[in-house]
Symmetry: C2
Subunit: 413 residues, 2 copies
């Protein structure tokens, strides 16, 4: 297959004129290897086409949202049908009630739900509700964890105030001693503990959900009458329909959702239990588009589709096929790699990989062979990924591993 990127380069040159740095945020290709396409023209199922017409099996799924694959017929039909009635109106549609009821029915700890646009809206709302519920200020959160782009949690604090991160104490994810030390430091001001369901920091080995740690966090929150906030924005729905700690038997007081809940339509959600309902009604949460009916219709259709069949099992089967394939290829080529975290959210890092040079080379080669991979962020599987798609990715990485084994990290001159 011939790969080209002329159109992309033209667009990037135009973009540099009118967009600071040429692009911003998590979809900027600035931290990716040269040649990674910035602009895409089309997406369907698990396939993605860039503006030069190159086709990829997309292992990023739009950085998570695409759980049922792009252009899912039932989701898009529901969205279109609702769009013909109304989307942003002077008030919500009744399907907002249907959707809140669905969340409450499906998520054990949820007695209520509110909807917003960004994952950050949901995590920020959770902090405010924890503080309003407890009338305390201190929030504990894990060092290096990503919870959004607001001043209180941004990983790149340029332009933000130190004060915006006041009354936050960090602990090491999964380390109960570190957590307990932070709890002692918070004293009688502990409002809540904010955690992701497993450590899924970029550029790090991932962990699996850890029952002992989850139970420990739950017990400490209960003991100190603080709220346990689960940030399920990134992982939510991929591990379990009812929340990523459902299978561990640990119920948070609040959980934040986003990304995949409406299969790519802009919707996030914050759900909570009875204890924080009154505070939730006092915290001011709003946005011009938060009451849009179309993303809610898409979410309802997504829930319907996920209820139809054991989709998690499919994601695990495909993720296992991919992980096994990569392990076999790496071993055969004598390349040291680590694959960590739940298989539904693949993460592959190379051993001794200074500044991700091997990873960069590996994803660059795979890209040119039709697989869109990420060098240091967890990837995502969708229900649209079938065995043939995984095998197509493995064909691409067979080439990529061979190149790494032969040339190391340096691109050919």
């Amino acid at each position: 297959m011939s790969w080209s990127n002329e159109r992309n380069l033209e667009l990037q040159a135009r973009a540099r004129q009118v967009i600071p740095g040429g692009m911003y945020g998590h979809q900027s290709v600035r931290p990716l290897p040269d040649g990674f396409p910035q602009f895409f023209s089309r997406a369907e199922g698990c396939r993605l086409w860039d503006v030069d017409g190159n086709e990829y099996v997309d292992m990023m799924c739009a950085y998570g949202p695409m759980l049922l694959g792009y252009q899912h017929p039932k989701v898009e039909a529901a969205a279109s049908e609702q769009a013909r009635l109304g989307d942003t109106m002077t008030g919500p549609s009744e399907i907002m009630v249907d959707l809140a009821e669905r969340f409450v029915a499906r998520i054990e700890h949820a007695d209520w739900a509110v909807f917003s646009k960004n994952g950050t809206d949901a995590t920020s709302g959770a902090l405010a509700i924890a503080r309003a519920t407890t009338d305390r200020r201190t929030i504990l959160l894990a060092e290096g964890a990503y919870h959004g782009a607001a001043p209180w949690c941004t990983p790149f604090p340029a332009g933000t105030l130190e004060e915006a991160r006041a009354h936050q104490i960090e602990f090491s994810y999964g380390d109960t001693e570190s957590l307990d030390a932070a709890i002692r430091q918070a004293g009688d001001d502990l409002a809540g503990i904010l955690v992701s369901p497993f450590r899924h920091d970029a550029a790090h080995d991932q962990t699996e959900p850890d029952a002992a740690f989850a139970h420990h966090v739950r017990e400490r929150c209960t003991e100190h009458e603080a709220l346990l906030i689960l940030d399920d924005v990134r992982a939510g729905l991929r591990l379990s329909f009812g929340g990523s700690w459902e299978s561990l038997g640990v119920e948070p007081d609040l959980s934040a959702w986003g990304k995949s809940i409406a299969n790519g339509h802009a919707l996030s959600a914050l759900v909570g239990n009875e204890r924080c309902r009154e505070a939730a009604s006092k915290v001011f949460m709003t946005g011009s588009f938060w009451f849009q009916a179309v993303p809610m219709a898409a979410a309802l259709a997504t829930f319907d589709e996920l209820s139809r069949e054991p989709y998690v099992e499919h994601l695990i089967a495909m993720g296992t096929r991919l992980r096994d394939g990569w392990r076999e290829q790496a071993e055969r080529h004598g390349v040291g790699i680590r694959q960590t975290g739940p298989v539904q959210m693949p993460m592959l890092l190379f051993d001794n990989d200074v500044r991700f040079r091997r990873a960069y080379r590996w994803v660059s080669e795979a890209l040119r062979c039709g697989a869109y991979l990420h060098p240091w962020h967890n990837m995502f599987l969708s229900t649209a990924h079938q065995e043939a798609d995984i095998d197509r990715v493995l064909e691409a990485t067979e080439t990529a591993f061979a190149v790494i084994a032969k040339d190391g990290s340096e691109p050919a001159a």
Copy 2:
């Protein structure tokens, strides 16, 4: 016409079980008179149908977004066409570059643009960029002005930290002495001044854009090398295509946009000049759905449509017809009212109206006669409002004013 709200009441009862307080944010009817419908089933042009089938001429336009009317054929066609290609993908579509170029071409002070979801995303980004550009912290903003729902600007601070509002100094909108005092207080730490294009606070008489004040703010910013940030989220496009201070000849350094730029699709924008481009490239701004192509396609179609004809003149003509009608009705019925602000964003308040009792009565009567009005928030006109629609509103308010004149504020027993 017979008006009913049985279905709405049923839905509100269900909503109270699964949504804190039954609803939240600016679209909650809790602060509106009893009987105001919370849920809507359909919208088209400037008409809105609630879940009981009652039809209204909608004077809120979804609290602003609906500038071309609901279900605008060209906007929705562009959105549908893009939806068939891709919306949330692993990267943006090339139309993101087209749209940034459009903003830069159309807005005099814009050398670049970034896009987000909430108006709050844009105003929050503006503050960070002002601070990063100047390496200073203090932001001046008007007392009582609405700039979003984030902790630094929320009008209802339950659950937020005082620290989130650090390094902010308030002044009285339109009062140069008050502004100058705030500037003196900021000393050498003045990063920026954040202003709406006119005073459009809820529950207050509005002002008109004030050239003298705008020039004063501009001069002081220039003198102190601080950035002038115009919050055009609410008013943007309704006063002028190029920004609400375009006709005053005053250019901000940054301006925040939202609501109507994609005619109801979820999109906000922050544009700025060359001076703050580098800082903008360093401030971390992102969200899972910020790169959606469908709202950008809708924005391009909205811009096309607005370029096609002198739409501001139409809004002014319809707004003037409405204002003249209300003035005549109020005078004839001997009811004291004040109509303030630009006619495109109608605001009517009653004289001596303790706790908005008259306004509540007036909008309640009008509602039952088919006009959806707001008792204390500015309303919005769209290009879909035609003379017949305005006259329909005036028919409804003729009844409402007659009731006020006869019974005063108290609802009939």
